[in-house]
Every structure is written in structure tokens, then in C-alpha cells.
């Protein structure tokens, strides 16, 4: 039976833990109470999903590691999240655009993983898919609202689209591990995900009266552990307790 590699599962888990960590920063600081709740809810879903994946990765590793060991005791170069999710929240619009780019990718990825040849990944995707579909709908609706809202909101959100576009290429650029997972029917063909993603993103940005940026250089490296400077600070908070009080029960 097909089984994903530990590294592949960590990629999936790290993406949503780091994004959840970022979204958690909004808690108590949202533009209006209802949206504070909505964003916290997404953070909650994502971190909840990441726990299932870390538990699975820990089982694959099979050396007594726990979900928290994996989530909180690695250094920057051993995290495999894409660069998009570690980008700072910025204003509400930037958070929404980051979320929309990621959610749309996450939606098509999960849609594939529901039928992954790795049974565990398939089960986890089944449990997560409804949530992920809701996230994608929520962030798309907000992109439209902000893009087609006021002149100020339009400008702000367009500039976030421009800023974050450079981090979207990485999502669809397969490396050896992606190809290996695809061959085994564990992971998707990223070209297919890219085509779906582009179609959806074009459609939503058009409704939102926003422009797709011109040809942009695409950053990469996150999923191989080559990060920018932000991740270290995220980890400093994420790992603080596990580092200051090692090997204790909470």
C-alpha cells in the first residue's frame, strides 16, 4: 500500500500550521467582531488539520516523536512550508489575499487528496475538505468585497495581489518529491492544480475588478526548507514554551 514520505506529510502540515499561526495573530484585533471570529475559525480549522498530519508524520517517523515534537522542535531549515504562508499579515486585505491564494490551492489539493492512494492522507482530506471549501469561499468573497468596494480598498487589495503574486509560483512547481508522490498516486499532478487555480483566481479577480500582475519573478525554496527571515520569528513564538521548558507535559 502506498505511503507518503514523512517529508511530504510535513510539507502539508507545515503549510497550515504556519498559516494558522499567522491568522492567530489577528485574534482580538480584527476589523469587526464577526470577522475576528471568522478568521479565528479558519486558524482553528487549519491548526486542527495540521495536528492530524503531524500525528501521521510522527507515526511514519516511528521514533517516539509526538505531534508537538514535530511542530515545535525543528529549526527553520527543517520546515517545509511554502513562502506564501510565512508572509506577514499586513493589513486585513493582505491577509485576505494571502488566504485566497492559499485556500484556492488548498481546495484543489484536498480535492485530489480525498482520493490519494495513501489511505491516511485520504482520510484526513475527507475530514478537512468541507472546512477547506468553506475557507476558499470565504476568502474569495472578501477579495470581491474589497476589490469592488471603495477606491481605497481596491487600491490596497490590488497592491497586496501584486506583492504576494511572486509567492504563488512555488505552489505549482514540482520538485523530485512532488513527482515521486504523483507517480505513486499519493500527491496530485501540480500542473492540473495550477490550471484549476489559475482559472479560479482569474475568475474571482475579474469579478473583484482586480488585475493579474504582469509577468513576475517567482520566488521558491520554502518547501525545500529555504526560507526568508520571517519564519524564524514565527518559530520563536511557536516554540518558546517547548524550548524554555523542554520535555514537560502541558
Amino acid at each position: 500500500m502506498a505511503q507518503a514520505s514523512e517529508k511530504y506529510v510535513l510539507r502539508l502540515a507545515d503549510n497550515i500550521l504556519i498559516l494558522g499561526q499567522r491568522l492567530g495573530e489577528w485574534c482580538g484585533h480584527g476589523p469587526v467582531l464577526e470577522q475576528d471570529i471568522a478568521l479565528t475559525n479558519i486558524a482553528l480549522d487549519l491548526i486542527g488539520q495540521s495536528r492530524m498530519l503531524y500525528q501521521y508524520a510522527a507515526e511514519i517517523r516511528n521514533d517516539g516523536s509526538t505531534e508537538d515534537d514535530l511542530a515545535m522542535k525543528r529549526d527553520v531549515f527543517d520546515y517545509y512550508n511554502c513562502l506564501l504562508v510565512e508572509q506577514p499579515n499586513g493589513d486585513w486585505g493582505k491577509t485576505i489575499v494571502r488566504q485566497f491564494f492559499f485556500d484556492t490551492y488548498h481546495y484543489y489539493l484536498q480535492e485530489f487528496l480525498v482520493n490519494s492512494s495513501d489511505q491516511r492522507l485520504s482520510e484526513i482530506a475527507r475530514k478537512s475538505f468541507k472546512e477547506v471549501a468553506y475557507h476558499a469561499q470565504y476568502s474569495a468573497e472578501w477579495v470581491i468585497r474589497l476589490g469592488d468596494g471603495t477606491e481605497e480598498s481596491h487600491q490596497r487589495v490590488q497592491s497586496s495581489v501584486n506583492d504576494l503574486w511572486t509567492f504563488t509560483g512555488e505552489l505549482f512547481t514540482p520538485d523530485e518529491l512532488d513527482r515521486e508522490m504523483q507517480e505513486q498516486g499519493i500527491g496530485p499532478d501540480l500542473d492540473v492544480i495550477a490550471a484549476n487555480w489559475n482559472k479560479k483566481v482569474n475568475e474571482i479577480l475579474e469579478i473583484a475588478t482586480l488585475q493579474i500582475p504582469e509577468e513576475t519573478f517567482m520566488q521558491s525554496g520554502g518547501k525545500q526548507g529555504e526560507h526568508g527571515e520571517y519564519l524564524g520569528f514565527i518559530l520563536a513564538e511557536l516554540q518558546f514554551m517547548q524550548r524554555a521548558y523542554p520535555d514537560m507535559k502541558w
Binding site: 482580538g28 480584527g30 475576528d36 508537538d68 515545535m72 468585497r145 518558546f240 521548558y245
Partner: protein, 320 residues
């Protein structure tokens, strides 16, 4: 209405609530009853919203994923409580926007307890156990308050708060049963939160001028001192059970009264924090203002978009 008619109405109203009837939004009520409730419910709503901050402070640093998820969910519940309570205040004719403005300008109050800082993880345990515990004592009473929408909001809120309290106690329990470093952290948090939690019930009965009227209207059903005593009697054994000590040398069981006797509360500190001199008063209000100011363009965009959609739909309907 003549003055005499109003007095008659007020007398009838008092009989009505004394007979344990619920007051509903469309019922006649004395203007002062309405104002008292709006003040109390909106203060409660503000407390939920400001109360998110000291705990949200630890979301990024929670020691395990399980605790992180639980804390996120808890803070989210508080935001939800804020929403129900603003809605309850709106049934009395208050405007949520105005209530929020009053909080941001410093005109409206919120529970002073949230002006204390949360420097360690154990504060997440202490807040759940003690602060939510004290809040529940008050809120269980409010489930039977005379104003229907408030009482019903409280029933829902109480269920979630009890869950939070257990969760907080469980955090403390894990710390108290842990390493010496963890136990020290737990004791330190108890030392800092014990007295402020007792202050949450408000001044002693002989210094609580509005209480009598609220009791008469069945808004309040127990006095500050009664509620405080209930809380102490319930909490002391919980501390003993996990091996933490209450920071009050005068605390001892009084068999004759059937209650714990306790030491003098430092009311100077209480009034000082209310006056704005707590460690975090400025930060809390600044954080709320910052969120509100930075969210302005988002709220405007949402309104503008909703308006555009309305016009588009209208055009579609008239075209058809």
C-alpha cells in the same frame, strides 16, 4: 403620562418582576431600568471583547498544539459572547456602534480584571479557573435576571464559560502536577490573580450604592458579598486539591459560619485600576482603538460593496 401615572406604572412593574415574570423588549419598563440594563449589558459585552486580549496574547506561544487549539476556541467564544450581549443591549434600543464608540473613547467601562497582564502561560490557567470562575458565579445568577433577552443570552454563555473554567483548572492541574518549574509558574499566577478575582464581585455591600435598586428590579439576585463568599468557598478546596496555596494568611474555615473567613481586600488597588492605573489599561484600550481604526477601510468597503450589490439587484429586478 403624568408623574402620578408613571409612579403607578413603576409600582406595577416592581410587582410584576417581584412575581418572577420576565420583562420582554416591547414591555413597558422604567427608564432607569432600561438605562441600568444597557449600561450593565454593554459593560459585560465590552468585558468579553477586551477580555480577548490578555488571552489572545498567548495563542502564538501556547505550549502544545492541543492547548493552542483550545485557547483559540476559547477566545473565539468570548468574541461570540460579546456579539450576543451587544444584541441583547440592542433589544433595549441601544446602538451597537454607539456602544463601541463609548468603549473606545474610554467613556464606557469594562471589567477591570482585564487590565492585569498575562506574562506567563500559567495565566491562561489562572484566568480560566479564577476569572471565569468568578464570572460564572455572577452569570449563573444572571440566568434568572428579570430581563428576558439578557437571561437567555446568559444561559448560553454560562454553558460555554463552565467549559472554559474546567479547561483553565485543567491547565493549572497539569502545571501543579508537573516539574518544580511548572509548579512555580502555577503558584505565581495564583498569587497574582487571586485578589483581583475577588475584586471582580465589586465593592462590599455597604459600599455598593446601585445594588439595592438592581436587587429590587430582580436584575441582580445576590449581593456582591454573597457571590464573593460563594466563589471563595468553592475555589479554596480546588486549590488545595492540586496542592497550590491561596495567598491569604487570614484565610481559614469558619465552622460556625459554614464559610471561609478571608483577609482584607485592598480596595485602593481596585479603585486605582478602575481609575486607569492598572498595568495594562492603556494597552488594552489602545489595542481596541487600533483594531477599530485600522478596520475602518474594511468596514467601509463592505458597506460600499453591499450598496453596489443592492443597486445592481434593483436594476436587474426593474429590467425584468
Amino acid at each position: 403620562m403624568s408623574k402620578e401615572e408613571i409612579l403607578n406604572m413603576e409600582a406595577r412593574f416592581e410587582r410584576y418582576v417581584a412575581e418572577e415574570n420576565k420583562v420582554e423588549p416591547k414591555d413597558w419598563m422604567p427608564e432607569k431600568y432600561r438605562k441600568t440594563l444597557i449600561r450593565q449589558i454593554s459593560q459585560h459585552a465590552h468585558s468579553e471583547v477586551v477580555g480577548m486580549l490578555p488571552e489572545a496574547n498567548w495563542i502564538s506561544r501556547a505550549p502544545s498544539l492541543r492547548r493552542k487549539v483550545a485557547l483559540l476556541a476559547k477566545v473565539q467564544d468570548e468574541a461570540g459572547h460579546g456579539l450576543y450581549l451587544y444584541s441583547a443591549a440592542e433589544t433595549l434600543g441601544a446602538d451597537r456602534q454607539q456602544l463601541v464608540e463609548d468603549l473606545l473613547s474610554g467613556k464606557a467601562k469594562y471589567s477591570s480584571i482585564f487590565n492585569y497582564p498575562t506574562p506567563t502561560w500559567a495565566d491562561m490557567g489562572a484566568i480560566g479557573w479564577l476569572v471565569d470562575g468568578a464570572a460564572i458565579a455572577n452569570q449563573v445568577m444572571l440566568c434568572r435576571t428579570s430581563y428576558g433577552p439578557y437571561a437567555r443570552a446568559m444561559v448560553k454563555i454560562c454553558k460555554e464559560e463552565s467549559f472554559h473554567q474546567r479547561q483553565g483548572y485543567e491547565i493549572m492541574m497539569a502545571l501543579a502536577a508537573g516539574t518544580p518549574a511548572q509548579k512555580k509558574m502555577a503558584q505565581d499566577a495564583l498569587n497574582r490573580w487571586w485578589w483581583p478575582s475577588l475584586m471582580m464581585f465589586g465593592p462590599t455591600d455597604d459600599h455598593s450604592p446601585n445594588s439595592a435598586q438592581s436587587m429590587k428590579w430582580r436584575i441582580k439576585r445576590k449581593s456582591n458579598d454573597e457571590l464573593r463568599q460563594e466563589f471563595i468557598d468553592k475555589t479554596v478546596p480546588q486549590a488545595e486539591f492540586i496542592g497550590l496555596s491561596i495567598p491569604d494568611p487570614d484565610l481559614k474555615w469558619n465552622a460556625e459560619r459554614g464559610h471561609y473567613d478571608f483577609g482584607e481586600i485592598n480596595w485602593d488597588e481596585f479603585y486605582n485600576v478602575i481609575a486607569g492605573n492598572g498595568k495594562c489599561n492603556r494597552e488594552r484600550l489602545a489595542a481596541r482603538n487600533k483594531a477599530h481604526d485600522e478596520g475602518k477601510w474594511v468596514r467601509e468597503a463592505a458597506n460600499a460593496y453591499a450598496e453596489k450589490q443592492r443597486v445592481r439587484q434593483q436594476k436587474q429586478t426593474s429590467a425584468a
